[in-house]
């Protein structure tokens, strides 16, 4: 047995995270089993029918660029990477008449702690991303695209490269796609361990072969993106939603979810649940239902808190979370963000100081160092939370934590500063007594913590 064979025995099969049959009306994960990722299987599931429809290769008249963008607008599809920006609107910002090269970029740099949905899309249904990108490229008059994939999920990168080869060989990518006058080249690129490259302008820098430090905006990528050319960047799951929308119509997609929050969304549930995994469910599904799909709280324990949209989103106590539905507007109203849809569940044995200690260390570690408030501030936050957790906190630390967080918020080029500050402020807001207990008694008030 070779080293490769030994390692492959420990590879995830996707059975626990993706093929568990506990999705609700899935569109992106529908019909997957781990071995049916190839072009032939994708086409058997109706794949590339949307691209054929757009290009008028299904016997129809085809769709104009404006029609495609109008359909996506009507669907109320919002960016699945974290910001939730309306996709159709973003596409309409691309200056289609720009005479030079324009680029399309897929952000598969999935590094927001808690998020692992794009990995399963890329490994088990890569063609849906290729088709979505091709349709987007057509709508915006773009001829070259890149998919930038998180370096740690190399198997997904290799799989995507294989899928690209299949698509090229079948005339679904390249010059004159399916005999039309639309041409689109698509390539895969990979990161190599930098959380910050999930930020779209840092990703562009990285794609240009530089260290991934975010750019000041404006100018926005739509006018000054990759190599200084107009560029549209969307998340993997956003592109993956597009074929269904084109096949079934914007209105049908909108009706899968709720107003202003169209379609299905994939949630990655991690932490204290019985069945961690990815769950694709309609927007607006109650959180309680999602928790039930994931088997409930681990060991039958009581829910304490949930970080609803990746580690950067403010934590919410159980009482608030149980009243939320899983969509952008409900979670925002509750004081947090749907973000990337990464739901981190914590039960009543969890110490919030310890949880924040790990997150604050992460943001310090991943700050790119460009802006002083973030470079210095994330270190302050991490060191202060660390000393509170280890029993060396001072009474003045609570005010100081808040002060440092306040001084980072809104004072940096990109959102990493805010992402580091928001968890701190939310933890203090909802679980202040735990921090005060740590400082006063030099010990944790949740003794059962493991």
């Amino acid at each position: 047995m070779s080293v490769q064979n030994i390692l492959s025995q420990f590879q995830s099969t996707g059975i626990q995270t993706c093929f568990h049959g506990r999705h609700i009306n899935p569109q992106i994960y529908a019909g997957l089993n781990g071995s049916n990722w190839s072009l032939k299987d994708y086409e058997a599931r109706g794949g590339y029918a949307a691209l054929r429809k757009v290009l008028g290769k299904d016997g129809g008249e085809g769709l104009t660029q404006d029609q495609v963008i109008a359909t996506v607008k009507e669907s109320a599809l919002r960016g699945r990477g974290g910001a939730g920006f309306p996709t159709g609107l973003k596409w309409s910002f691309m200056p289609r008449q720009f005479p030079g090269q324009k680029y399309l970029v897929c952000n598969s740099d999935e590094g927001e702690p808690g998020t692992c949905k794009d990995r399963d899309i890329l490994q088990f249904n890569p063609h849906i991303v290729i088709e979505g990108m091709a349709i987007a490229a057509y709508a915006m008059g773009i001829s070259v695209g890149y998919n930038y994939i998180h370096g740690e999920i190399f198997a997904a990168y290799d799989r995507f490269e294989e899928a690209l080869e299949e698509a090229r060989a079948a005339g679904l990518l390249g010059a004159n796609i399916l005999g039309s006058n639309f041409s689109f080249e698509l390539h895969a690129a990979h990161g190599f361990g930098a959380y910050i490259c999930g930020e779209e302008t840092a990703l562009l820098e990285s794609l240009e072969g530089k260290k991934g430090q975010p750019r000041f905006k404006p100018p926005f990528p739509a006018s000054f993106g990759l190599y200084g050319k107009p560029t549209t960047i969307n998340n993997t799951e956003t592109f993956a939603a597009v074929p269904w929308i084109i096949r079934n119509g914007g209105q049908a997609y909108l009706e899968c979810g709720k107003p202003n929050n169209g379609g299905t969304k994939i949630y990655s549930i991690s932490g204290d649940v019985e069945l961690p995994g990815n769950y694709e469910i309609p927007m607006g599904t109650p959180f309680s239902k999602l928790l039930e799909l994931a088997g409930g709280v681990r060991g039958g324990r009581t829910l304490k808190a949930v970080i609803p949209g990746g580690s950067s989103s403010p934590v919410l106590p159980a009482s608030i979370m149980m009243d939320c539905t899983m969509d952008y507007d409900s979670i925002a109203k509750a004081g947090s963000m749907l973000g990337s849809g990464a739901v981190i569940v914590m039960d009543d044995t969890r110490c919030m100081v310890k949880a924040l200690q790990r997150l604050s260390y992460f943001y310090m570690h991943e700050s790119c160092g460009q802006c002083t408030p973030c470079r210095e501030g994330t270190g302050w936050l991490s060191r202060m939370v660390d000393r509170i957790e280890t029993g060396h906190g001072k009474d003045s630390d609570m005010a100081l934590l808040d002060n440092v967080a306040e001084n980072i918020m809104g004072r940096t080029i990109c959102a990493l500063g805010d992402a580091a500050a928001m968890p701190v402020r939310a933890m203090i807001k909802h679980f202040r007594h735990e921090f005060e207990h740590h400082i006063a008694h030099k010990t944790c008030m949740v003794p059962a913590y493991v």
């Binding site: 420990f10 808690g114 990979h190 990464a342 981190i344 914590m346």
Partner: protein
């Protein structure tokens, strides 16, 4: 000297980008160097710089910015265990400690036989598979219970001693 086989791999990456943007391939080229040599040293950085028409310092900026590039030699197997919050909630930290005890080293260290380097890592993007461990940058090992860690590490050790 870059071998012809390596050049072919570099060229495949370079071909993805516009002719005047060869630098874009630097991330992939350095990852290839690391896969073939185990680390990215100053000599390799200079060769990649020449190949892509970059200043060596610009390549060094990339090597030092991204966490996964090894700037010095590591063991035959580099083990990266995720301990970020979602993994911490599912025994990520205990997994790291278990491996420390099993191998008799602390995180960041290499076993005396040069077989294993153990590192704590940030989010690997496989949160629902926790505990997770990345081996040599490319092989994600999922649901790594103590039993499976024993199987993996003992299996690798046995395989290497055979050859």
């Amino acid at each position: 000297m870059i071998s012809d086989a390596t050049k072919a791999r570099f060229d495949k990456e370079v071909a993805k980008y516009p002719a005047d943007q060869k630098q874009s391939a630097v991330m992939a080229c350095l990852a290839i160097v690391q896969q073939e040599q185990g680390f990215v040293g100053a000599d390799s950085e200079r060769l990649v710089a020449d190949y892509l028409g970059m200043a060596p310092i610009a390549v060094h900026e990339v090597t030092t910015f991204y966490n996964m590039y090894n700037q010095r030699p590591v063991a035959r197997f580099k083990l990266n265990v995720c301990t970020n919050l979602p993994c911490q909630l599912r025994e990520g930290q205990q997994t790291l400690h278990y491996i420390e005890n099993k191998l008799g080293i602390k995180m960041g260290e290499t076993t005396p036989d040069g077989l294993f380097t153990l590192q704590q890592s940030e989010c690997l993007g496989a949160c629902a598979d926790s505990p997770v461990m990345l081996v040599n940058d490319r092989a994600m090992c999922s649901f790594m219970s103590e039993e499976k860690i024993d199987q993996l590490l003992d299996g690798l050790r046995a395989e290497v001693s055979k050859s």
